[in-house]
């Protein structure tokens, strides 16, 4: 028979030892969707590289948009190739990946019914959510890191180690270029915290993992569309996606931080709001699934 301590817990039970980061990390690691998502981050640069190899030099000027200059210099070197991979993923793929890792984490446990057994362990609710959030963030960051690393490796092997050509400003030497590339990747992660926030909140509110992931992506798209409507004026500053392109400031010389600072503030506010709501809701809700 177990002996009890003052809080009446079973022998060996400590609230802070339940569902450790490592065990949650393994829980998620074993899932196919985690492996697929990370695997695709490796695959994408390969696909892009093959596409460039097959396609050759195109001189089609149609459809030149905001990123035209980045596309133009995509083959300038490993840094530029990695940057290209990053930016083609930023508007949708990475959004889905962030939404997937954050939206699926609690909702899938709820849909399997394993959530109630974790709570009955008992894993304290705040801890459960905190660990899940930390692991989801870790996987999201890993996805970006894997994408950048693969792009950098492939691009450097194929196109060489050259200065970062920005297309809108002077070239940046490789060493500093690498820092800027990492800075851009970092800013992407920060701006995607909004998606992480929405997805995580939805994950807590619903039992349907797809609903949480899809809902977050949908809201992100709606916000992006609204941001295109310049008639909204000042209101656009409050849209969570308004500062998404501020990373371009890292491609100019000298570096422009203003947009990224505002974008970071916006993203942190939204993420904190959504995560706060998620914790507030989850620590109070009746878990009936």
């Amino acid at each position: 028979m177990s002996t009890t301590v003052t809080n009446g817990a079973a022998a060996g039970y400590r609230p802070t030892a339940t569902l450790t980061f490592a065990s949650e990390f393994m829980r998620q690691w074993r899932r196919r969707r985690t492996q697929w998502a990370l695997g695709f981050m490796v695959l994408l640069p390969v696909i892009i590289l093959i596409a460039f190899e097959i396609g050759g030099e195109g001189d089609d000027d149609n459809g030149r948009g905001t990123f035209a200059s980045i596309i133009d210099v995509a083959l300038a070197g490993g840094l530029n190739f990695a940057l290209f991979c990053l930016f083609v993923s930023s508007s949708f793929l990475l959004v889905v990946v962030f939404a997937l890792f954050h939206g699926d984490t609690v909702a899938s446990e709820a849909s399997w019914g394993s959530l109630r057994y974790l709570l009955a362990v008992p894993v304290p609710r705040g801890r459960l959510l905190g660990i899940k959030l930390a692991v989801a963030l870790t996987y999201s960051l890993m996805a970006v890191a894997v994408l950048v690393a693969t792009g950098l490796l492939l691009g450097t092997l194929r196109y060489g180690w050259h200065p970062l050509a920005s297309g809108i400003s002077a070239d940046v030497p490789p060493g500093e270029g690498l820092l800027r590339l990492l800075g851009i990747a970092g800013y992407f992660c920060i701006s995607l915290l909004v998606v992480a926030g929405i997805a995580f909140l939805l994950s807590v509110l619903t039992d349907a993992p797809l609903g949480a992931v899809g809902g977050a992506v949908l809201l992100f798209i709606v916000s992006s569309i609204l941001d295109q409507i310049t008639a909204l004026g000042e209101i656009r500053n409050f849209l969570p996606t308004h500062f998404a392109r501020s990373y371009l400031g890292l491609l100019t010389s000298p570096v422009q931080f203003d947009g990224m600072v505002k974008g970071t503030i916006s993203a942190l506010c939204y993420a904190a709001l959504f995560w706060g709501l998620a914790f507030w809701r989850f620590t109070r809700k009746d878990v009936t699934s």
């Binding site: 009446g8 079973a10 400003s169």
Partner: protein, 883 residues
């Protein structure tokens, strides 16, 4: 639900409120009064923006640029009017609805008109006066209007302050820089006066231009030569001669992207105004660059208002320092525009900077050719191309500044070892030789980056007309060339290039093809200034970000500490007398909105007991168990687990093993992996889990290593029971454990549970199956419609109610007969009726049935829980709903 709608409503109202606040236009605080004002021989089309508040207000004369009307400055007028100024705008003579001809800011015409406007203002009773006939007034204007402001202030001391923007000092210098005719700008200027609908019957050649000005233009534009008459006429149209008579404090605002009136014009004005306070502000726009980035527009507006407020309205502090400037700092990725950073300097250093850095440039003498008729020619700046030209300069690309082969020579410096903050006019000496003794050259200073891409700041170049040159370079004397004033940061590693070229699209050069020899004769002297960046709202955001991060971190830490402290106090509470009771439930009530799932239940599970929680579907069993596991919170009542009050996540729950509402596993893992994954989540030592025992209970054999998604319901159920028993918890709570099991497994499960409750452990089993509870449990709690209808030992409950089973031939008829006898009964399989006889004897009942024509096959007395159950809850379970 109602609560949710309320919160959605509140959120929507807040959102709508914010949006409305953001888009609602500010109320208009001024009246617009249109007037025709007679000034000498012309009638001016004017509009006064008169603030509604204030008895007597100071006035601003707001003059428009060349080719505009009073409407061109409406937006600026409204902004100033909103600040409490009466703003008078008018269309200058020769434009729009005003009559007269264009005299190009002649002292006797346009300037006199403006004096008449001052008279008109002074005559109004709502304008503040300094003296009779002297209105309190400032003059603001850009370009054409800027020169008017300077000339009016030089001619009329009633003016209290002026803000001339992007304007000229001496037209001779602006139109003939270095003696070379600036043909493209002059042509644009002239065309703007060729109104499409000449009012005063102007000629097709001169439009609304006054004849003397028109004829002068036609003459100089043809020859490219500035004769003495033209020079004299231009001088009367320039502020330069009356600058020293200006008494009004002057804020000179000049554009850096301005190939028409470059910074040197403002510099000349600043030097000329010797009897009044002068402040200079350079911004990144101009005649080429437009109004510049938003941050620059804001800065210019701020400086203007600050100046007017202090010197006209006499409020606000005196503006400090005499010089501010701004520099394009990069692209604004969000708004797709450019970004400018403002800098300030205590004293205006002039165009030579506070110090000069000399940078040698390397190259040898070269021969360059002037193309016949100046065509083709390099294109450096496109007049009025707006931000396009300066953007090209910023982008580091060659932009338009393409020098043509054979027409230019280059002299390049070594890479800079440190970045240079250039503010002012660089200078360089050159040597030139020409067979004719004459030459027109264009000297340019490029910023060349590491990749060899060069950019010319704002497309500005220095034209120079040379005469008396020797035929050979050996005899040539160095000629000092002052390059256009620029604001630029030359980054380290970049090079500086001097280019000397022969032809430029914007200027009228010699017609004949010619060959020159040129060389650079000295190092380039670069003016630099030590300036401090002006803090803007953007800088503040960094502090906001820092504050936000700090706030979030502090909030997080405090939140965690508070939550832990609160939990730990709660978790350590023990209610006396129950420390050894696995489960005690008192007055438990759970409602969902208006729906009462559990009315009120009380029961106790003691050590060694196997307690059955019995009730029909929807009696509230599962709801109660959810509360016991801390999954849902009780509306009312108290649950004690080993004396600890229950709360979600309270540590004492670790002594309970549970199966609630069916199994819940990660489908992609095997049964074994699931058990291990679950135990890992408890954080307890692996050896405490007793995996062998649990696996034996699960009895899945080899299937334990198959994925759970391939399991049948029964297999999952057994795995779930095994999971609940991991670590052999002191209280086992099982919700319908035999669901999906086959009879042998049910029998096995029964034995397992009975065995489990030995050595001081307890089991709580919920079931809707009577037989199961009767055969498994020592105690039973019967629930119905959310209340406990009976509880106690199974034997005691069973003993309460003797019933009889009748196997009959005709069930329907039998039921009718029993109904007549008013006895309670229940259907039990084919042809069987379980009957609670109550006061009737069995013999009576059989007789009644037989009499009614029902064949009675068998009559068996029963003393089972099922009967008790029926007795307690009645035959009907309808209305208890899904609980």
């Amino acid at each position: 639900m109602r609560k949710r709608w309320v919160s959605i409503g509140v959120a929507a109202a807040v959102l709508i409120g914010l949006v409305t606040w953001a888009i609602l236009p500010a109320p208009v605080t001024y009246d617009e009064i249109d007037e025709r004002i007679t000034a000498g021989d012309v009638t001016l089309d004017a509009r006064l923006y008169r603030p509604k508040d204030g008895d007597k207000v100071p006035a601003i004369l707001l003059a428009h640029g060349f080719g505009g009307t009073k409407l061109s400055v409406a937006e600026d007028a409204k902004e100033l009017a909103a600040q409490g100024y009466a703003v008078l705008t008018w269309t200058a003579r020769g434009f729009g609805q005003s009559t007269g001809q264009i005299h190009l800011n002649s002292r006797d015409h346009e300037v006199k008109d403006a004096q008449a406007l001052l008279d008109w203002l002074a005559a109004r009773d709502d304008i503040e006066l300094d003296a009779a006939g002297d209105p309190r007034a400032g003059v603001v204007g850009g370009s054409y209007g800027g020169a008017l402001a300077l000339m009016l202030a030089g001619q009329d001391t009633r003016v209290d302050a002026i803000v001339p923007m992007i304007t000229w000092n001496d037209l001779n210098e602006s139109l003939f820089p270095g003696g070379v005719f600036k043909q493209s700008w002059a042509g644009l200027f002239f065309t703007a006066g060729m109104s499409r609908n000449p009012l005063a019957g102007g000629s097709p050649q001169c439009g609304r231009w006054a004849d003397d000005v028109c004829q002068t233009y036609l003459r100089i534009a043809e020859t490219g030569v500035l004769d003495a008459d033209a020079k004299a006429l231009n001088l009367t149209r320039s502020p330069s001669t009356t600058l020293n008579q200006i008494k009004a404090p002057t804020l000179l605002i000049q554009g850096e992207a301005d190939s028409l009136f470059p910074l040197s014009e403002a510099d000349a004005n600043a030097r000329g105004i010797t009897n009044a306070k002068v402040r200079l502000a350079w911004y990144t726009g101009g005649h080429d660059g437009g109004s510049g980035p938003q941050s620059d527009q804001n800065r210019v507006k701020f400086l203007t208002l600050q100046w007017l407020d202090h010197y006209v309205k006499k409020t606000g502090a005196e503006p400090s320092g005499t010089f501010t400037y701004s520099r394009i700092a990069g692209l604004d990725p969000v708004e797709q525009g450019r970004l400018a950073t403002g800098f300030q300097l205590g004293t205006y250093p002039g165009l030579a900077g506070t110090e000069a850095v000399t940078i040698p440039v390397n190259g040898s003498s070269q021969q360059i050719a002037n193309p016949p008729n100046g065509n083709p020619a390099a294109i450096t700046a496109l007049p009025q191309a707006g931000a396009l030209s300066s953007l090209a300069g910023l982008a580091g690309g060659a932009g338009f500044a393409a020098d043509l082969p054979g027409q230019h020579g280059n002299w390049l410096s070594e890479p800079l070892t440190e970045s240079l903050n250039v503010v002012g006019s660089p200078t360089v000496s050159i040597k030139a030789a020409s067979q004719t003794g004459e030459a027109v050259l264009f000297v340019k200073l490029y910023d060349v980056d590491q990749n060899g891409q060069s950019s010319l700041s704002n497309g500005l170049i220095a034209p120079i007309r040379l005469t008396g040159l020797p035929a050979s370079l050996d005899q040539a004397q160095p000629i000092k060339v002052t390059l256009p004033a620029i604001v630029r940061n030359f980054e380290d590693g970049h090079r500086i290039r001097i280019t000397i070229a022969t032809a430029d699209q914007a200027y009228l050069g010699p017609v004949a093809p010619m060959l020159y020899s040129v060389d650079v004769a000295s190092a380039v002297a670069i003016p630099v200034v030590p300036a401090t960046a002006i803090a803007t709202a953007d800088t503040l955001w960094i502090y906001v970000l820092g504050g936000l991060v700090a706030l979030l971190v502090i909030g997080l830490v405090v939140g965690i500490i508070l939550a832990r402290r609160r939990h730990s106090r709660r978790d350590k509470t023990i209610i006396d007398g129950y420390a050894d009771v696995p489960l005690h439930v008192r007055g438990l009530r759970k409602t969902y909105g208006d729906f009462v799932a559990v009315e009120s239940i009380d029961f106790t599970v003691k050590r060694g007991q196997v307690v059955g929680l019995l009730g029909p579907n929807g009696a509230g069993k599962t709801t109660s168990l959810r509360v016991l596991m801390g999954l849902t919170q009780a509306t009312e009542g108290e649950v004690l687990i080993f004396g600890h009050p229950l709360a979600p996540g309270t540590p004492v729950l670790s002594r309970i093993g549970a199966l609630v509402e069916g199994p819940g596993f990660q489908p992609h893992l095997t049964g074994r992996q699931n058990l291990h994954s679950y135990w890992k989540a408890t954080g307890r030592p692996t050896e405490d889990a007793k995996f062998p025992e649990a696996l034996e209970i699960a009895g899945l054999g080899d299937a334990i290593d198959r994925r759970v998604k391939d399991y049948s319901h029964g297999m999952k159920q057994r795995l779930a029971v095994a999971q609940a028993m991991l670590g052999l918890p002191e209280l086992l709570v099982l919700d319908e454990p035999t669901d999906g099991l086959d009879p042998p497994q049910i029998a096995e499960m029964r034995r397992v549970l009975q065995r489990y409750a030995t050595d001081g452990r307890a089991v709580l089993v919920s079931s809707h199956l009577l037989a199961e509870v009767e055969q498994t449990c020592t105690h039973v709690v019967v629930m119905h419609k959310g209340v406990v209808v009976a509880s106690g030992k199974v034997d005691e409950i069973v003993g309460d109610s003797p019933t009889t089973v009748f196997d009959v031939s005709d069930v329907d008829l039998a039921q009718k007969t029993l109904d007549k006898l008013s006895v309670t009964y229940a259907l039990d399989g084919n042809g069987s009726l379980v009957v609670d006889l109550g006061e009737h004897t069995r013999a009576e009942t059989v007789a009644a049935l037989v009499a009614a024509g029902v064949g009675v096959d068998r009559v068996t007395p029963r003393r089972r829980l099922e009967d008790a159950f029926l007795a307690l809850v009645g035959t009907s379970t309808a209305g208890s709903g899904d609980r």
